[in-house]
């Protein structure tokens, strides 16, 4: 999803720069922190990346179901890969669209990943919104036939 026009080289370099940015930010925090906090600060960019995406995965999703001429948003269970896909998609769209034009992707992505790692930030908020909508439309659940 990072790749555009088949430019894998660019996508890969953006990802590596993101990981580097995450690492440097964490190191800065590490050096500024006291020794008790230092044990809690995670510096491995890969664990941060995986954990952040896991925190962004929604548990339940919505599907538009046609009944009686109207489309209803029905809460529906999501498969594992759909969840991962949605997490990544939300993360990338968030960085592309909602940030200032001049900030670079690694900078934006690293910031979002760190926020998601701590269960804060806009992507996690979007996940919670999705959950709330599903909860609100709970009554429509029997429209689902699979």
């Amino acid at each position: 999803m990072m790749m555009k026009g088949g430019n894998k080289v660019l996508a890969r370099s953006l990802m590596t720069q993101t990981l580097e940015a995450v690492k440097r930010k964490q190191f800065k925090k590490f050096h500024a922190a006291s020794s008790e906090e230092q044990a809690t600060i995670e510096r491995n960019p890969y664990t941060i990346f995986h954990q952040a995406l896991k925190n962004c995965e929604p548990v339940i999703g919505l599907a538009p179901i046609l009944k009686g001429g109207r489309f209803y948003q029905v809460p529906v269970p999501l498969s594992d890969r759909r969840r991962r896909f949605l997490a990544m998609k939300w993360m990338i769209t968030e960085c592309r669209e909602k940030k200032h034009r001049r900030t670079l992707m690694p900078e934006k992505l690293s910031q979002e990943l760190l926020q998601a790692f701590h269960n804060q930030g806009p992507v996690v908020k979007r996940k919670h919104d999705m959950h709330k909508m599903a909860e609100a439309n709970r009554a429509l659940a029997h429209y689902r036939w699979w």
Binding site: T16, Q17, L19, E20, K23, R24, F27, K28, H31, R43, N44, P45, Y46
Partner: protein, 506 residues
């Protein structure tokens, strides 16, 4: 395998043969009596040690004296085998008595060989052993494994000798610490950007001591200040550490109290200049006020204490109303250049001229350090208003700098670096002086001492990895393992710049 060069071993071996060659006895180069060897050295000595123990034929196992015998015991060094064959043949021709006689002779020579081996091992580069993380082989008794592996990383990668003047061959491959306060004064400009980032992340500045820098330091320590300034050119492929070697030299000269004229990147002066003014001093040339004023500011930070001591010896007129009298200090010229940006280029010209004139007097030693000197003789991307290109010669800064790197003054040295990275209109793979400087540049610099800066050798590579591990920069689990290190070596090919970029995201 590439740790110690093969030549010395062969010579040592031949010397070895001479005095103690018993007739036909110990010239046999019998390979690898594995268990017998290992008894002598501790099990932890590692493969290189056992290889060395196997080396000179003196450590022949008594029970298996095969005269023509080559023990192809899996050592991949064909050179060894060839030498063995030669040695074995020599053994044959020497003639011998019966077997029991060999036996006693060889035991004696075996013991002699072991002691000689120990002394030889000391002579061999300590890096070879340090790389394997072993204790010094003075104690052949087995050590605790934990003790060995705990102590060695620090011993390999860092040294406590922080004065560049005292750096010797034995510090090669080790990092030394530069105090951050010094970094701010000596290097307000001039550090490679990735290195500056690393400095910020680790909160410390560590530089590796490498051979080219050691060589240059040796030359600088022995400079004769009565002779014209010698020109040294550091060249090499991209990312091999030319700029950081230059920084090492600058640190050394700063510690020795030289006056440092450091141009961080000459390429910045020949491209992307927003405002070009026609020079007031010479109508044909162009001024670059911004670059000149920035450089003057940094020059002032580095050389505060000299600015008041040096007095200019001529009167300079800035314009109708302002002039500088003879006898005023250089500091005033610099101030004028910083405040009046229009005159900054001329101020730079004055500074360079005065320093060149006065360095021969002996009050101070002058180090001219230029990074990317091939910019002085290359093309520029700057254009006049009528879109015609400007040659490098027509820029006042470049013109003055060319005069500075000519060796018609004495009392100092000129150290330069070639750089393809910022260069204009040069192919990416070009790194040799002839290619990057062009004919004009090469002729202008002609009698110079070229110093090649290469990729890391295995010892330096290991040291670099250990340094990163100590600062916990390599967070990936696989980076700590042996295969991980081999992968890194393969991917970066020992190139310091590439390695740094690789480790950044691991």
């Amino acid at each position: 395998m590439t740790g110690a060069p093969r030549q010395p071993r062969a010579e040592e071996r031949r010397n070895d043969l001479g005095p103690k060659a018993s007739p036909g006895g110990s010239t046999h180069r019998v390979r690898g009596r594995g268990p017998a060897m290992r008894v002598q050295g501790s099990g932890e000595e590692g493969t290189a040690a056992t290889r060395l123990l196997r080396f000179p034929g003196s450590t022949a196992d008594p029970s298996r004296l095969s005269r023509g015998g080559r023990r192809g015991s899996g050592l991949a060094e064909t050179g060894e085998r060839r030498r063995e064959r030669r040695g074995a043949k020599a053994g044959e021709t020497k003639g011998s008595s019966g077997r029991p006689f060999h036996f006693f002779k060889s035991v004696g020579t075996m013991l002699k060989g072991v002691t000689r081996l120990v002394s030889r091992v000391h002579k061999l580069d300590p890096g070879h052993f340090l790389r394997l993380g072993t204790q010094a082989p003075q104690s052949l008794a087995a050590h605790l494994d934990n003790q060995v592996s705990f102590e060695s990383p620090r011993a390999i990668s860092c040294t406590s000798e922080n004065d560049p003047a005292k750096h010797e061959e034995k510090h090669e491959g080790q990092h030394y610490n530069l105090p951050l306060q010094d970094m701010k004064t000596i290097f307000p400009h001039g550090l490679p950007p990735r290195y500056a980032m690393q400095m910020k992340t680790f909160n410390e500045a560590c530089l590796m001591v490498r051979k080219p820098a050691l060589e240059l330091l040796h030359y600088l320590k022995n400079t004769n200040f009565a002779h014209p300034a010698v020109r040294y050119v550091l060249y090499g492929e991209k990312g091999t550490g030319k700029t950081l070697s230059l920084c090492h030299i600058i640190h050394f000269c700063a510690k020795q109290d030289w006056l440092i004229l450091h141009i961080p990147d000459a390429h910045l002066w020949v491209k992307d200049c927003r405002d070009l003014l026609q020079s007031s001093y010479n109508k044909q040339r162009f001024d670059q006020p911004l670059e000149a004023s920035v450089w003057l500011k940094n020059f002032k930070t580095t050389n505060e204490r000299f600015l008041n001591q040096i007095k200019i010896q001529e009167k300079y007129v800035w314009n109708k109303r302002e002039s500088i009298e003879k006898g005023s200090s250089l500091g005033e010229v610099v101030e004028q250049g910083i405040t009046r940006v229009r005159n900054a280029t001329d101020a730079v010209g004055i500074v360079l001229k005065e320093l060149k004139r006065q360095s021969s007097l002996g009050i101070f030693h002058l180090l001219v350090a230029v990074d990317g000197v091939n910019a002085l003789w290359g093309r520029t991307t700057l254009k006049r208003e009528d879109k015609s290109p400007i040659a490098a010669e027509e820029l006042a800064l470049i013109h003055n700098l060319r005069k500075m790197v000519k060796n018609d003054w004495n009392g100092g040295a000129i150290v330069m670096t070639l750089s393809q990275t910022g260069s204009l209109f040069k192919p990416r793979k070009a790194y040799l002086p002839q290619e990057l400087l062009g004919k004009e540049g090469f002729d202008a610099l002609d009698p110079f001492i070229p110093i090649l800066v290469g990729n890391y050798n295995p010892k330096e590579f290991e040291s670099c990895i250990q340094y990163y591990l100590e600062n916990s920069w390599l967070q990936h689990e696989k980076a700590h393992t042996e295969e991980g290190k081999k992968e890194l070596l393969f991917l970066s090919n020992g190139n310091p710049g590439q390695l740094e970029r690789l480790c950044a995201y691991l």
